[in-house]
């Protein structure tokens, strides 16, 4: 079953456009949603949560169209925004007391279990929490109302490596039972190398690639060669950088000819992102 099914989203702004965005997330998996700042991650997430008026396209969550079943589906969605805070001067206890009233499946026992597990003191004010603790608090809220789909917008941005690793472990624990699915946007690609099952890459409002993580990486090669070799493959390269030793460029695996003698390595997610961003620049 699909936890999230996004079909042909289009949304035009004066300076930015979301073009035919489609991707699917199977239930019980973690999908990393990557892209540079301003690539359209947050706009896509807002469309998922029915906060925007789309020009066209549909979003189905757990088999239901969000536009038609918004209230019902929001009972099943948990969210965390890494960089936005709400009612920061209130204590967690007070905020939780208000929030839990909105959810029919709220379970206090689960909530307190997560508070203990995440070492959160509910008498603290939101403003006193570290960035990592805020994300954990959002997770505790989401899980206590039985959210099946977690939508996390840059939850790991601004966290130290220890807190990030801790959070990634938590994400992996959550999906073990196959009930919970996570879509998490980030521009810190190393997080995804650790815990994502699927990767969706958005660049300039368009989905470049959405697939299983290993397939995603395997579908590209990073070429290293001399400047003379560059002319040989220039046409096939997504983009390239020239340095004193020659060039480095990204190519789709199907366009790479091993007999060309140019050495090729597996790129990291970060390298894929960078070379795609560079491609955009080249055509500007």
């Amino acid at each position: 079953m699909l936890a999230l099914d996004i079909r042909h989203l289009n949304k035009k702004y004066p300076t930015f456009e979301l073009r035919d965005v489609s991707f699917q997330l199977e239930k019980g998996y973690i999908m990393g949603f990557i892209g540079a700042n301003g690539a359209g991650k947050t706009t896509t997430i807002k469309s998922i949560l029915n906060m925007l008026h789309l020009d066209s396209g549909e979003v189905h969550i757990l088999g239901k169209n969000i536009a038609e079943h918004e209230i019902e589906l929001k009972q099943e969605i948990g969210y965390a925004f890494g960089d936005i805070d709400f009612y920061t001067r209130s204590k967690m206890k007070k905020l939780t007391d208000v929030i839990k009233k909105f959810y029919t499946n709220w379970d206090d026992e689960i909530y307190y279990n997560y508070l203990r597990r995440f070492k959160l003191d509910e008498n603290k004010k939101i403003v006193e929490l570290s960035t990592g603790m805020k994300v954990k608090y959002s997770l505790a809220l989401a899980l206590s109302h039985g959210a099946k789909l977690l939508i996390l917008d840059e939850p790991t941005s601004g966290l130290d490596p220890v807190a990030r690793d801790d959070l990634l472990d938590i994400f992996q624990d959550l999906v073990v039972d196959g009930e919970i699915s996570i879509l998490f946007s980030t521009h810190i690609t190393s997080d995804l190398e650790k815990c994502a099952d699927f990767i969706t890459f958005i660049e300039n409002g368009q989905i470049i690639h959405s697939s299983e993580k290993d397939d995603f990486i395997a579908s590209y090669r990073l070429l290293n060669g001399s400047e003379s070799q560059l002319n040989q493959v220039k046409e096939q390269l997504i983009s390239y950088k020239v340095n004193s030793f020659g060039f480095t460029g990204l190519v789709r695996s199907q366009d790479y000819d091993p007999s060309s003698g140019i050495s090729a390595t597996m790129p990291s997610l970060e390298e894929i992102m960078i070379y795609f961003a560079k491609k955009e620049d080249m055509y500007v």
């Binding site: 008026h53 009972q75 969210y79 009612y87 920061t88």
Partner: protein, 217 residues
């Protein structure tokens, strides 16, 4: 809807704004003052402060994430404001009665706080509500222009009606002269004011909702 009202009362509205009516209402004890100013304090102080708090605490996004309809979001917000408005007026009325009892022989230049005057205050708030809410919900976060416009029009209404009350002997007689002691007349003006307040506020709710539907968050 009930949960949203409770959310606003617990998180959005600073407790100070529930104490305010008691403090500001005490201004009614000044004999012969321009009493229109008393409910206007609500528009000048409480509304801008409350709405800037909503904005700085990202209330719009916070509320949108909850399983609630946009219609309920508007209705709940209007309900909270109306509750505060009623609190202000009712407490000011009580102070007004005390003032009338303490100073029975005041020569009023401006409207005396009889029931008819409160009817006019309800009309003033009705005008305030319809302008403020419809303008505010164009964006659901920009409250400055909405507040300035609605306050200006409400004050203009109060100013003009007060000026007529001074210049026109019929109106003056209605509110401060012999009409002031005609309970039937005073009650009718008050009820008419309340009816206008209800009608305008309901219309404000409807228009605000229609505009809010178009808002992207």
């Amino acid at each position: 809807m009930y949960n949203l009202v409770m959310k606003d009362l617990k998180l959005g509205v600073h407790p100070m704004f529930f104490v305010f009516p008691f403090l500001i209402g005490a201004l009614m004890l000044i004999p012969g003052w321009i009493y229109f100013i008393v409910p206007l304090y609500f528009c000048w102080i409480t509304i801008p402060n409350m709405f800037s708090n909503y904005r700085s605490q990202n209330d719009l996004l916070f509320t949108t994430m909850m399983p609630v309809t946009k219609k309920d979001m508007v209705r709940a917000r209007v309900t909270v404001i109306v509750m505060l408005e009623l609190l202000h007026i009712v407490i000011a009325m009580i102070y007004g009665v005390i003032m009338l009892w303490l100073f029975p022989n005041v020569n009023y230049y401006f409207f005396a706080p009889h029931m008819g005057f409160w009817g006019l205050c309800f009309v003033m708030l009705a005008i305030y509500n319809i302008i403020f809410f419809t303008m505010y919900y164009k964006t659901a976060y920009k409250h400055g222009q909405a507040a300035i416009t609605s306050i200006t029009v409400a004050m203009l209404f109060a100013g003009v009606i007060q000026w007529i009350g001074i210049q026109n002997s019929f109106v003056s007689n209605l509110f401060n002269g012999s009409g002031a002691h005609n309970v039937g007349l005073q009650t009718s003006i008050l009820i008419a004011g309340i009816v206008i307040f209800i009608a305008f506020t309901l219309a404000a709710c409807q228009m605000a909702y229609k505009r809010f539907l178009k808002v992207e968050i």
